[in-house]
Amino acid sequence: MNALKKICESPAVLTLIHYRVVVILVVAVILSASLVPGLTEFRTLSLSLDRAATLGLVAVGLTVVLLLGKLDLSVGSILALSGIAAIGLQPQLGQLGAAAFGVCVGLLAGVLNGVLVVLMQINSLVATLASMIFLRAMCHFVTESNPISGADPLFGLAVSRSLGGTFSLRTFIFLIAIVLLFLWLTYTVAGRHVYAVGSNEDAATASGVRSGRYIFGAFVFSGLMAGTAGVMQSLATNTGSPVFGSTVTLTAIAAVVIGGTRLEGGRGSALGTLGGVLVLAAITTALEYESVPSYYQNIVTGSILLLLILLDRIASNSPRSALSLSSLLPVRSKEQSPAR
């Protein structure tokens, strides 16, 4: 065990663990490229990315929530409800109006989560569990448990059709959201405060950071992103269904955690989430091409997730490693700072 610890604490291994997203991504892409002929072609890549965009947008929102050490289980229900709004209200509000309203539904659901967690001081796990159940029931209530479809299937095609031979609209939105989030988290004071609140909420509050506002904002942002993802998915399929997004919450959390964000908060990055989403997209594409049943895919995803959090625990959180010589090395100090 000691020998294992020593190996784990060596600078080379720590660097590898620090940039594990890149390592996993490279392995996943090489594996899937060897299994799927033509994966590296631009058109295939663009299609795979388009399919991952919904998951990606949800993951972007969850990144901030997880960075703050909270959890949002309700994103799947928000996704379904805003999709239903975007399709079902088309006769009343027009296509663009309904889409905008769908995004607003996501925003409002985020506000609901924020009120529960920040104002009513309910633990985020239980609070978002409550809103998850509530919003899912709302989906079934307004649609009477039947999927609904819009009048004009051509309108939604704009979302998933590639723009000028490049990526589709929702892929662009996803990528832009990732880049903006990365810049905000890394280069602005407010973004740095997110890390501060996530690392130690009480200490951040004592230092004059309004922790509650950041947490409230994170839930609103998460709801907004899930709402946007739901509207896009419903437009692309021209359907609003009360069962949409029932598995997306778990997959999105997996993507964020694979990307190196810790559930305890305070560590993680937007680019890591991009890596996590790409890893899951590569695995999905490869396994589907090989027509492996989806439950094997669950085994793979679960194992990766488990291995990663175990590595993370061994490498960075044992009290011994904090006292060891290697903690003085530059790699070590980088690992400990929230800067990533």
Partner: protein
Amino acid sequence: MTSAHTLPPRVTDEKRGRKLLGGIALPVGILALLIAGSVLSEQFLTARNLTNVLINMSIVGIIVVGMTFVFIVRGLADLSVPAMVAIGALLALGLQPALGSLPAAMFGVAAASCAGLINGLLIGYARLNPVITTLATGTIVLGVAQAAVGGVIVYGDSPGLQSFLTGRLLGVPVIVLIFLAVALGGHLLLSRTTFGRWVYATGANPDATKASAVPLRFTKGAAFWMTATLSGFSGVLLGLTLQTARPGVGTGYEFDAITAVVVGGVSLLGGFGNMPRALGGLLLVTLLSNIMVLNGIATESQGLVMGALIAAAVALDVYLRRRGGAS
């Protein structure tokens, strides 16, 4: 320390009013539901309907017993419950032709128990985050269970056990008796044994508990192991009574169990709550659901009420102890 289960340290004498409110809210709620139910529907207060309520409670109730331990030990929640229920049900039915019905059932429980052991080791000893760990192990276990039976619906072929489980013993359905036995065992374990004290101590103050040489890691791990084993057992019972099992059979059971425990007022912050409270919460939720069904409200739409109920229950819990320093 010895009175940890009778006198939570966060409630002091000057807040007797609040303590009283926390104590009577649940019985009053159940009583109000019983009255409202009998007013709204004449079928509600019949022996047949109330027996149905008890049977509906039993499968989830066995899981609730385990989940209560997880909550009190400050383990947040076990999200691998659906996978454990599914693996129990799938193996109990799928292995019947090969092993015979009773060994297959025991194998189902044993498989869930092994998976629970992994949960316990990872959460208790490796100190991983319980939410993400149980999420990951749940995904893996469900995948393995599906791979084992080929991802299809499994049918049972021995009606012997089914007729025993759905039958009655002294006028009480057997499945209810099993649930009551598990609940009683859980209650005694929590309130009368050293292990029970450890559970409260671990949840109330981990640092002080560790300094008192209580096996913190063992206690936390054991709570998760118990929950997985009980979920597997519950899955076996579910599979045997229905005589069919599909991989999604356990979906929602984790949330049902969490809802019951939370509504019962067992604190997510750990160290507070007991088995009668959790089961009272379960009774309240099941009665509420039953009343809604009798009044023609679709199961899918009941979440509108359930979600609000969870939020209200926890908000009350937080309000009652906010000034105890445990925000």
